[in-house]
Each structure stands twice: as structure tokens, then as C-alpha cells.
């Protein structure tokens, strides 16, 4: 009964709005990989499209041990983009399953039912510089251009 009251109080105080934010991991040096939801006006070479997906159960409403939020997905995406030789990721799109505080609070009662957690982040990895005029792609012999 006390637990029910506590959960109800949390639910009433928390409201129904859910907010998730992600912070771009800071690079150690200036000029490291940039990430934007926008387009790029400068010349660039596309290195490929990329998607990071994370799926895991969320226990007791809040215990997201598998890391299914935007931060974790970005943390997966950025090293891969670096490995591809990219200078940045453009046109980033993201989608995360969100649960209102009331729903999460109820999962404390229904502790045996985990919530499905999932996040998807997509984008295009680019290297600055026009195709044919920029630096050679990673792995290409010196002096050769892709185009």
C-alpha cells in the first residue's frame, strides 16, 4: 500500500512530459569530428551512410543497463565515423523510445515486466573537400584520388 502511494506521488509530481537530451562527446583536439542535423554548404565527399541501433530491456522503469539512449548511440556512431576517415556526420536523424514518468513509475510495481528500450541514430559520414579535390580516401595509395 505504501509502495502504491509512493509510486502515485512520484507519478503525480513528475507529470507526463519526457525529455531526453544528448551531448556530443568532446574531442580532444580542435577540428575533430563534427555532428549536425543539418546539411553542409561547403564541398564534401560522401563516405557512406551509417546507423547505430541499441536495443535492451529497461528494468524497474529506470534501470537502462543496456544503454538505449541517444548518448550511448552517439558514442557508438562517432568512433565508427572516425574509422571511416570522416570529418563529420551530417543530416543526423534520431529516434528513441520514450516512456512518461507515470509509465516508468508503474514498472516499479510491475517489476517482472521489463520495458523494451530502443534507440536509432542515422546520418551520412562526410569528408570535407570536393570529390576529386580533397584528400585521398583512407587506404588509397599516395597520389591517387577516388574520382
Amino acid at each position: 500500500m505504501r509502495l502504491l502511494l509512493a509510486v502515485s506521488a512520484v507519478a503525480a509530481l513528475a507529470g507526463c512530459t519526457t525529455v531526453n537530451t544528448a551531448r556530443i562527446p568532446k574531442g580532444s583536439q580542435p577540428g575533430e569530428l563534427f555532428v549536425t542535423t543539418g546539411d553542409l554548404k561547403e564541398p564534401y565527399t560522401s563516405l557512406g551512410i551509417i546507423q547505430a541501433t541499441r536495443r535492451a530491456p529497461i528494468f524497474l522503469g529506470w534501470i537502462d543497463a543496456g544503454g538505449t539512449d541517444l548518448d550511448d548511440a552517439l558514442a557508438d556512431l562517432i568512433p565508427e565515423a572516425r574509422n571511416m576517415g570522416g570529418d563529420g556526420i551530417i543530416n543526423l536523424r534520431f529516434e528513441q523510445i520514450q516512456y512518461p514518468p507515470l509509465g516508468r513509475a508503474l514498472m516499479v510495481l510491475f517489476f517482472f515486466v521489463p520495458l523494451p528500450g530502443e534507440v536509432n541514430v542515422t546520418g551520412e559520414v562526410v569528408r570535407l573537400g570536393a570529390p576529386g579535390y580533397g584528400r585521398p580516401p583512407p587506404g588509397a595509395p599516395a597520389g591517387q584520388r577516388r574520382y
Binding site: 543539418g38 564534401y44 551512410i49 551509417i50 546507423q51 543496456g66 551530417i90 551520412e124
Partner: protein
């Protein structure tokens, strides 16, 4: 006692393995750069490099099957849908480019799922009852098909 210790270790290892294997990164081939290299249909997740007239919009849901956690058959990968079907549709509509492309690989297999599917094949073969797991795969791609105008 020793047996109990082994089970605990196995449980911890399984839990760690399961948590580590929750994420997957899938990649597709390059799209067009900027300025337009002028080769075939221009593909971009962003805007158009030139003035254009919109011909229409498209949404493609590519279907494929992942077999035994190893092989993808059909349009189960990003490249097959984006650089295959999408280009085909744009060409049929008389377009020069597809812009503002958005894509989603709906259910990529995580490393854990791949290993689980592959191990079920192996264990099935050992017991004399081979069992190959298949998983439906979907890739959704949307875009705006345009025709370049002027110079």
C-alpha cells in the same frame, strides 16, 4: 561448491555478454558528394546542389532475410535499398536526383543475435537435427525525387 562457482561465473559472463551486445552499427556505401560529380542519379541525405523541380516522393520498404545470423538475402541491407531500388525508382520517374533521403534499418541483428542464430545451427547439426534460423529484415528509405532545371 566448485560447481556453484562455475555457474556464477557463467551467469556473470552471460550477463556481461548480453549487455555488451545490445548495440550494432550498420553502414552503407557512399552517396553523392558536393559539388555534383555528375555521374548517374544524384543521391543526398541533404538538399540539392542545383536548382530543381520536384517530381514526387517515394517510400521504399526493402525486405530481406537473414539466414543463420550470417548471410543477408534480398534487400536486407541499406545499400540494396538506397543505391539499388531508390535509384531504379528515380530513374523510372525521370528524376536526376533523390534528395533529403532518410533511411532506417528496422531490425539489424546485434552481435548476440547473430551468435545465437549461428550457435543454434551448430548445436542442431551436432544433435542430428539441423535447424537454420531465419529472421525477417526490413529497411525503410524515403526521399524526394527531383529534376534539375537550368544550369
Amino acid at each position: 561448491m566448485r560447481n556453484h562457482g562455475c555457474w556464477s561465473l557463467a551467469a556473470v559472463a552471460a550477463a556481461g555478454f548480453a549487455l555488451a551486445g545490445c548495440g550494432v552499427v550498420v553502414k552503407g556505401g557512399p552517396l553523392s558528394g558536393r559539388p555534383d560529380p555528375g555521374r548517374g542519379i544524384y543521391l543526398s541525405t541533404g538538399g540539392s546542389p542545383r536548382p530543381f523541380r520536384t517530381l514526387g516522393f517515394t517510400e521504399i520498404r526493402g525486405y530481406g532475410v537473414n539466414v543463420a545470423g550470417i548471410a543477408d538475402v534480398g534487400d536486407a541491407a541499406l545499400d540494396g535499398t538506397v543505391r539499388g531500388k531508390l535509384v531504379e525508382v528515380a530513374a523510372q520517374m525521370g528524376g536526376d536526383a533523390v534528395i533529403n533521403i532518410e533511411f532506417l534499418d528496422e531490425n539489424p541483428s546485434t552481435p548476440v543475435e547473430r551468435i545465437s542464430a549461428a550457435s543454434s545451427v551448430i548445436s542442431g547439426a551436432q544433435t542430428g537435427r539441423p535447424q537454420i534460423e531465419t529472421k525477417d529484415r526490413w529497411v525503410t528509405v524515403t526521399g524526394e525525387i527531383v529534376k534539375f532545371v537550368g544550369k
